[in-house]
Amino acid sequence: MAEIHAPGLAHHFDSYQQQKEAAFFGMWVFLATEVLFFGGLFCAYLVYRSANPEAFAAGSRELDIVLGAINTAVLIGSSLTMALAVHAAQVGKRKMIAAWMGATILLGGTFLGIKVVEYSHKIHEGHFPGPNFVWHGPEVNVEMFFNVYFLMTGLHALHMIIGIGIMLVLIPLAWKGRFTPESHNYVEGFGLYWHFVDIVWIFLFPLLYLLDVG
């Protein structure tokens, strides 16, 4: 009976408004699970750092603040371009959606590239945790810092890779005009995800890179 539905409106919703509210609320609830997911790691960080303050400070000094700061700026920039993509969707500029998302991918890729450089330095210096971990300083248990570092930044990077993958799907759809000012929940919902990933890094940067550098 309800075959008179508008394009982009699923059969079980009564209106775009309901569909949109459901989609965003669903995304937010999902992000709450993401907060707790990273929360487990932050909890481990908290416990191990308070148990090994010197080791964490020493490990942190090994990280490259300049690269870390650049990456922070790059990621904040990518959040801006993502916000602009959402704005383009809201005002119905389909090519601009694709363009700003393209820029977001570029910045996200830059971030990951810099991350690869940092990782390879650390691996080269023997700071990758495992049986081959090397530490010459007097501090004990520095490996724990690098456990936490690689887990946290690794999971963060994985979230970015997934995000870039999703954008690669969304860009052609945007280009073809699949998203209208009435119906662009995928773009806006994805935007929330990308900003969340940015927020995680906003916390990771000072917690990992800026310990005891003064």
Partner: protein, 557 residues
């Protein structure tokens, strides 16, 4: 409308709307997905049950007569993993919850039907990982994966099992997100929060726990897997790690997970008690808020699993007091259910037998929980069969009783068929007797000092253990009977009408089985939940039902 009948003049409903394997495997209908889940979880329930059979057989004699110690360790571990992660956690939410929540709130489907279908596939992938681990030889760490044993010493398939547990978490999160959004955004006009059935409240609370707890255990399991694969020492004291931290992170989820198992069951019981006493439930708002407060308090008590783990005694004292607080909302529920029974016109239909069984068994399980939350007593009975009996009273006596009660209550709605009355009552009684015979002796065993997780025990304990094993046999038979008559009823059972129990609720206003989009006319609600009129003669569901406009077209076939 052409939607009402199929080519053979039969009333069209979700089961005959479409045929073929593809129409099931690609369905987005929450009702069909519920049935897919029912099939999957039943498989894992049977498998977990088989492991239990092995355990009880070995424990029938004091010596190591049946299996090797190592095999025994794998048996109880796989029993726990399968039953908890692949059966109990999805049991009611993924089957009855999936089927009923849209019906109960007057929606056409859950908010995200594709996500719902995906969750079933993810569940099965998780199941395959776990089965693969079983086929390889299983895992022997206990379902809790305590470190450093699980990360450093165990030679069993920890990573494969961990992968299964990690993956099944995604499936529950998908279901929970769906429920929360659906309950918030898709309620029928007029269906305010305090008109919702308590089943829906219970699932809302459950979903909160899933969403806020599951990710923590996911990342913890990931750390265990990383530790094993990379040979690092996140939780290994030899490498500076802290095994107690693992326990904190693990129980942050795994204690609330107990409420994931019991809350939906409580929701079912609220529905059953009110339907079979023909009375509005006593203290509706108290039960609704009790569900939510159990969900919240459930997150504040995890340390009671760690009283003897070198956790600080101060933290232990705090966790002990907080744990006892959970008894308050739980008791509110039990008291309100019994108050509803008072002066109700109680009928002894099969679902009601399960509901009454639940109240008694859950009370025993809950009260022994308060004993265990007491620091001094816990030191005495820690890691004994007392604990085993306690959580089986909650999970089997509580959660599974509710699950079976709900299945019997809504089976006519799900399949459009009735099951045999005699056999269903018979099996309910068999299950109740078998359950108590299995687990009550374990309280005594534990109190006398028999530790859990050992395949041998002193000969003094044999009588009680044989009682337990005999009870398990009876319980197993009790579980098999419904399997037969449910299958039988699908083909040969008498046809059920729209509302076979004379119960009140939106799900009873549509056909049995419901049409694909649940209601032919979107319902509007202007009555409170359970609007039975206890003081009016004939103020039953039937009378209420007759007075309400039906949302269903006349039956054709």
């Amino acid at each position: 409308m052409s939607e009402l009948a199929n080519n053979f003049g039969r009333r069209l409903h979700y089961l005959n709307a479409d045929y073929g394997v593809k129409s099931w495997l690609l369905t987005r209908d929450h009702k069909r997905i519920a049935l897919l889940y029912l099939a999957s979880i039943s498989l894992f329930f049977a498998l977990g049950g088989l492991m239990a059979v092995g355990i009880r057989l070995e424990l029938a004699t004091p010596g190591a007569d049946l299996v090797q110690p190592d095999t025994y360790n794998r048996l109880f571990t796989m029993h726990g993993v399968l039953m908890i992660f692949l059966f109990l956690i999805p049991s009611i939410p993924a089957t009855l919850g999936n089927f009923l929540i849209p019906l109960m709130i007057g929606a056409k489907d859950l908010a995200f039907p594709k996500v719902n279908l995906a969750s079933w596939y993810v569940y099965n992938i998780a199941g395959l990982f776990t089965l693969w681990a079983v086929a390889q030889g299983g895992v022997d760490t206990g379902w809790t994966f305590y470190t450093p044993y699980s990360t450093t010493y165990s030679n069993s398939y920890v990573v494969a099992t961990a992968l299964g547990v990690f993956t099944v978490g995604f499936s529950s999160i998908m279901t929970a997100v769906n429920f929360i959004v659906t309950i918030h955004r898709m309620r029928a006009p007029g269906l305010t929060w305090f008109r919702l059935p308590l089943f829906v409240w219970a699932h809302y609370a459950t979903s909160l726990v899933i969403i806020l707890g599951t990710p923590v255990v996911a990342v913890t399991i990931l750390m265990v897997a990383a530790e094993r694969i990379l040979r690092i020492g996140i939780f290994d004291p030899a490498l500076g790690g802290d095994p107690v931290l693992f326990q904190h992170l693990f129980w942050f989820y795994s204690h609330p997970a107990v409420y994931i198992m019991i809350l939906p069951s409580m929701g079912v019981i609220s529905e059953l008690i009110t339907a079979f006493t023909r009375k509005r439930i006593f203290g509706y708002k108290f039960i609704a808020f009790a569900s939510v407060s159990i969900a919240v308090l459930g997150f504040l008590v995890w340390g009671h699993h760690m009283f003897l783990s070198s956790q600080s005694v101060y933290a232990g004292a705090v966790f002990s007091v907080l744990s006892m607080l959970v008894a308050v909302p739980s008791a509110i529920k039990v008291f309100n259910w019994t108050a509803t029974l008072y002066k109700g016109s109680v009928s002894w239909d099969t679902p009601m037998l399960y509901a009454l069984g639940f109240i008694g068994l859950f009370t025993i399980g809950g009260l022994t929980g308060v004993m265990l939350a007491t620091l001094g007593i816990d030191i005495h009975v820690h890691d004994t069969y007392f604990v085993v009996a306690h959580f089986h009273y909650v999970m089997v006596g509580g959660a599974i009783m509710g699950y079976l009660g709900g299945l019997h209550f809504w089976w006519p709605k799900i399949t459009g068929r009735l099951y045999p009355v005699f056999w269903s009552k018979f099996s309910a009684i068999v299950i109740f007797v078998g359950f108590n015979l299995t687990f009550f002796p374990q309280f005594l065993l534990g109190y006398l000092g028999m530790p859990r997780r050992y395949h041998v025990y002193p000969a003094d304990f044999q009588v009680l253990n044989v009682m337990s094993s005999a009870g398990a046999t009876i319980l197993g038979v009790g579980y098999l009977i419904p399997l037969f008559y449910f299958f039988w009823s699908m083909r040969y059972g008498e046809r059920a009408d729209r509302n076979p129990w004379g119960a009140i609720g939106l799900e009873w206003m549509t056909g049995s089985p419901p049409p694909t989009h649940n209601f032919h006319e979107p319902p509007t609600v202007d009555w409170d939940a359970y609007a039975y009129l206890p003081d009016t003669p004939g103020g039953t569901g039937e009378a209420w039902d007759a007075a309400k406009p039906t949302s269903e077209a006349p039956e054709h076939g």
